[in-house]
């Protein structure tokens, strides 16, 4: 039903290959027919079939991006970074929702692969370096975030970022500092936990394992974790959270418990979402270079697509942003 190259050929009185050449700017074609064919194509409403084209050229000019879930605010600048560079290079970008589920992630990657995308970027993978074992099942370039054990990965410096955050709290006099983790971000979580531990050790503070608690990166989990931590016989005076969402949940829990931030408790997030500066109170947090992360990832992917494989994992710096959720530790007297 839709108009094909043959239809144009017939209308123009030339062969299909001539049409193809006219449309694809082939060098050896007369300016006249080229112009005529192009006008005809436009007038007839011709749209090339990327299916057919991809089948023969083995190039679909498509990038698949697997994301944990739409509306993860962390993703916006990251995806924008990807898109900007992808479009510059003539690629379309499509997103697939994974919902932090390993099975779904495999399905999404598979459905990208079945459609012959040129390459895949996975944000928030539940598989991580497992992709090394999936190379023969999915023989196409795949780039990850925050997985230093995988050769094609772009990360934030989670370790240093965490160190900055916790050092900031220590400097404010806090000694009982909680860490609320994220079980779904295995690698990033590990690095942040390491940073947390390191600073506490270096500051000579005794580590209390009760202060490290599991979360899942959502507001709700921050709320729940904070509730549990507050119920301890010796509750923390400060909360270092895996991300800003968790931090918002914590602040909410504190508010419900009648506590004020930062007077009674301090909270530090991670990410520096757009929302962070507009939360109430504005969040102290560790900024990730999200837009850059996206750009580096797509550059790496394009390199891989072009056949390079001498690439190194990249690590971008994090930066502490002090706002209004951190303050001096309450004195013991209180």
């Amino acid at each position: 039903m839709p108009v094909t190259i043959k239809d144009i050929a017939q209308a123009a009185g030339v062969s299909p290959s001539t049409v193809s050449r006219a449309l694809s700017d082939h060098p050896r074609i007369s300016a006249g027919t080229k112009e005529r064919v192009r006008r005809l194509a436009r007038d007839m409403g011709y749209t090339p079939s990327i299916l057919a084209r991809g089948l023969v050229t083995r190039h679909t000019a498509t990038i698949g991006v697997a994301i944990t879930t739409v509306s993860d605010p962390f993703l916006a600048p990251l995806v924008r970074g990807i898109e900007a560079i992808a479009h510059e290079n003539g690629y379309s970008v499509f997103l697939g929702n994974v919902h932090r589920d390993r099975e779904r992630e495999l399905q999404v990657v598979q459905s990208f692969y079945e459609r012959w995308v040129s390459g895949i970027i996975v944000a928030g993978s539940q598989i991580d370096e497992g992709y090394l074992d999936l190379r023969d099942r999915f023989p196409l370039p795949i780039v990850l975030f925050n997985c230093r054990t995988y050769p094609y990965s772009v990360s934030t410096d989670n370790l240093i970022g965490a160190c900055q955050a916790v050092a900031h709290l220590v400097q404010l006099g806090h000694r009982r500092i909680a860490y609320i983790a994220n079980q779904y971000s295995y690698r990033a979580n590990l690095d942040r936990l390491t940073g947390y531990r390191r600073v506490l050790e270096e500051s000579g503070t005794s580590m209390d394992p009760n202060l490290v608690t599991e979360g899942d990166g959502t507001i709700k989990s921050g709320l729940k974790a904070a509730g549990e931590l507050l119920a301890l016989s010796q509750p923390p005076t400060a909360f270092f959270c895996f991300n800003d969402m968790t931090a918002m949940g914590v602040i909410n829990a504190l508010r419900r418990a009648g506590l004020q931030v930062p007077r009674d408790k301090s909270v530090v997030g991670f990410d520096d979402l757009d929302l962070a500066r507009y939360y109430n109170p504005p969040l102290t947090t560790v900024r990730q270079p999200t837009h850059q992360l996206g750009q580096r990832a797509i550059r790496m992917l394009l390199d891989l697509i072009q056949g390079r494989d001498d690439l190194q994992p990249e690590i971008l710096p994090a930066e502490l942003v002090v706002r209004e959720t951190t303050g001096p530790a309450p004195t013991l007297a209180q």
Copy 2:
């Protein structure tokens, strides 16, 4: 390089068509060869090419969803609703980022069309009923949200929702009620504005055009709009916001101005995002049946794909959710 149906045929000592039949559960094939071929396919790591298949069957089992931007929190349940039903019916769902730009929206729809997706859902269209004119350029099913003037559309009852919100404020004694609009959601915005106007008129309140101001649905725009409204000689005592994000911006502005919510000013949002109940204070807002919106849209799209065209625009009910950002209007004495 990847293994094709021919490779399997060769390995199994049968013809390609037999392999195709074995894999697609064709009725006329012996159980033996079917089993043998299937095992071989699995062992050899065969993945069907949806490009090739789609080319001949004209069916790619793919739904394209155009969204304004990843990380619009409003979209999460909506997309989940779409995915749930789509997957049940054997379709894959891919998202394309439009960034509220008309040109980009056309590009995304075009790139879906070039890839022969079975149908398209557009959330937050900048084109709306303009798709009627694009029917010959994109001859495939397209479903929209919140566009009653387009035949294939699913909407929230924005009018009634707005009425509920404003009536709630009026009941609390508010007379100077601002409306902060969203220029990018043309249709939805129009209906909400109408509801706002109607309730004010019915309550005998004189409409002050200065209290209706343009926004773009972001926190930042809420912040800005509230700042301007507060600078009026007679500032409003209540803010009805196009959405929750705007409301959060407003609350932020109020906080910066040293005002308390809901003691000094009342704020109502729209959407009832997950975040709304966790904001500080928890938002009074109008709930949209987001998940259902998605489900209805995909059902409508699947109907269209199957050739039905006797469909009607659908309108789902909205519901006021009263939380902690609305209270009695301050007395004039204050």
